[in-house]
Amino acid sequence: MKGTNLGEFEELVLLTIASLVNDAYSVAICDEMERHTDRSAKLGVVHAVLNRLEEKGLVKSKLGEATKTRGGKRKRFYTLTVPGKAALVKAREMREQLWQKIPAFVLKTAV
């Protein structure tokens, strides 16, 4: 049950990973999310979510090369897996369907 549905925050993290392409590691994900969503993304939260997504099989990760920054520690880069991509596409489709069902006047005042 838990594995099939994406939470809102999980979806955001997945989208961010996708948008960062090859540079998606925890700190960068946090920064990117802060930039785009106007809310602070705490490392502790993001780290936990990344861990959970990996457990669900939606992302996979591998360690990068060691550099002089970060105290010589390697980064862990995340990429989407096939199920991850599918989950994102599915989520988007679901929304589009809903969007299309909304008559134009409903949202007029809101904009």
Binding site: V27, G44, H47, T69, R70, G71, R74, K75, R76
Partner: protein
Amino acid sequence: MSEKRNIQPPRWAERILEWYCKPELLEDLQGDLHEYFERNVESVGKRRAKLIYVIDVLKFFRIYTVRRLEFINVLINWIMLGSYIKTSGRNIVRNKLFSAINIIGLSISMAVGLLMIGTLMDTYSYDKFHANHARIYRIISQYSYLGNKDGDFNATTSLRAAKAVKETFPGVEEVAIFRGGFDGDFQAGDKTIPLNGLWSNETLFKVFSFSLLQGNADKALKEPFSVVLTQKSAKKLFGDADALGRTIILNKDREYTVTGIMEDVPQFSHLRFDLLASLSGREITEKDHAGEMAWDNIWRHWTYVLLPADANLSSFQTNLDLLSKKEDPSVKNTNIKLALQPMDEIMTGKSLSNQGGPIIGGTLLWVFGGLSFIVLLSACFNYTNLSVARSLRRAREVGVRKVIGAMKNQVIGQFVVEAILISLLSLVAAFVIFLLVKPYYLGIHTDLQELLLLELSPKLVGMFLLFAVFIGVAAGFFPALFFSRINAIQVLKNNSTVKAFRKVTLRKTLIVFQYCISIMLITGALIFYKQYKHFLAFDLGYSTENILNIRLQGNKAELLKKELSELPDVKQMSTSAMITSVGNVEGTSMKNPNNPEDSAGVRFNKVDESYIPLHEHHLLVGRNFFAKPDSAKESEVIVNQQVLKRFNIANQDPAKAVDEIVKIDGKELRIIGVMRDFQYGRANNNSGEKVVLRYSKEGDFLNVKLLSNNLPVAYEKIKAIWKKIDPVHSFDAKFYNEEIEQAFRGLSASIKLAGTLAFLAICIASLGLLGMVVFTTETRLKEISIRKVMGASEGKLIYLLGRGFFMLLGTAIGISLPLTYLFFDKILFPNIVNHAPLKLTDGILGVLGIAAIAAIMIGSQTLKVARTNPAQVLKNE
């Protein structure tokens, strides 16, 4: 730029992270935190950044990050345990001297620890057999007159306060009231047995868990003149016959009906009695006695309240204060402060006056607990010291282990296991010592014998085992840490690069510490011993030589006197109400003849006409009492100089004070003589007492002055006469000087304990020193041989080897002697009156002894090395 790179997050926080985090998550998480840390250094500064780092590390302690116990590691540790034990065993056998030093030191100190554990366990199990022990409180009271507080709190309260609490206080479940002194000779049929009991009210069985075997718990102590016997007393009085409903007669006077038989009072109860009588009986017998219910008569009743589990103690205290406020005006110039004391703290808390029986007291536990801990610590230091010193020999082994793949914590595990093994071996020896020493330990003081059992129970043995493991870990942890840090490559490449003496400062500090403790303990014990001797030989102001004090126990003095006067050994006889200078006091009040508003408490003794000459009390002016029957009205008194001084009688001129009339205990008495001051209380307190002597022919004691040629024979003769006169009571007589000695038995017990601990501490420190000397000389054997070949003399070599150790010894003496002196001079002695002056020479004997032992050890070992044939040593290379 380079400066910024040097700023690192706190190392210890990183360690915590490394410790708890799963290895697969660790590296990038560490990197992430580090990246944030760098940013924070830029934005908020170094200090805040470090703080944030630490907080983050703690915040990441979550279920998904925390490392699981890996099965394989557990398995490896189990498999390796066998190997650890095997290597440890081999090591113990190979280094016989060091193992022996460790095991002897540890087992001696652990025996002390075992005694301490047993004592603590016994002490803390007191009164726990009561189901409600945590909810029972004792009401204690403090007496103050004209604002002068009377020292400690008393464990007792007035009957009036007890009744007020019982009848008017809200939120009290039950109140049990005891009164001491239901003692005397109890007669059942033709048997007469002396017993000691308490008066009590009927609710005691609701408060306490004393179980009644026969009779009705609710009613047993309700009716006046009913008694509840313990099983033991019932058996003494009635044998195997049924006791319930029978009557017993107290002191040939009043009949009491047995309404209940209860189980014997358990050993671990601070309340002790042979039988209980109903308190309601006293309401009848003491009806006309106004003092019974007086607010300031706080000396005889113990009051216990059972409160609900959620009781509000501070509001109870407020109610007690209100009660004091209401009742204080009933007695002039007197304040009684009441307070609650949890029953669980009676045995371990601070010492109060008027306890019903002996208690151990928190101070004693802390002092001797602390001293035992120090002795234990000293033995652990030996282990640490010797293990680290031997690192040179074990380093290779550790190196090989590490190369094969031992992790740091496995090396730690190995050395801790070794230490635990040694401490378990020591436990066996310690346990034997414990069993051997137990009777002597309990015999140090009669109170200990009465209070403690030190019985072996599974719980106690379990505690001993736990204790041994704990000691093992404590002793072995530091060496283990030291060995685990050894760099395998360095050790294996070249042995000499291991810095064997790296921890030299630490080892020196430990030795100095051990010797400081030893010196302080031995000096302290010696100073105490000198005080003890000083108090025993103290000039009391009168003579106590060859005086035998016989407790009359209700017999007529005249009868005994007549019989004894036929003995040729008896020189003189007198009677007295009490024995002075052994700590007992009798008090009454005396009015100031110059100022009717003023009165003060004075001490007194009731004596007959022979008392003053027999004890060689010095009369300054006036005369002694004349003999007269007790039925005559009391009219005369002899006072001491302090009385004249306090009330300024006749301008303190003894000659003019004679024939003055003073009012003592409500009676008008004429001063017939003034005596020189003497020590009424014990020599180490109650000095400068105001004392009056009153006349009475019927005392509680017969003082018999004997001719000094054969005291033991005379004693036996008197005992035989006593048996003829009184077959019921056992002969209770003590020589005055022995009685004084007994009054200081607390001090003598402390000296024995402290002295023994000092001796042990010295032994352990000496063993440790021996180990270090042996080790040092052995490692320098080659150097010594070369020096010898080059022409160094034996004396020079001994100096070279021993210099360092003597320096340590000197430092220890330099630190500890002034500390001990200051402790006694500034802290302890100001509180002791009449103490012997402190001299620097007091400690010298102890210090010399210690120095001599150390010198023998250092000397013998260095001499041995200095005398070895250099050819033998150098040939082997």
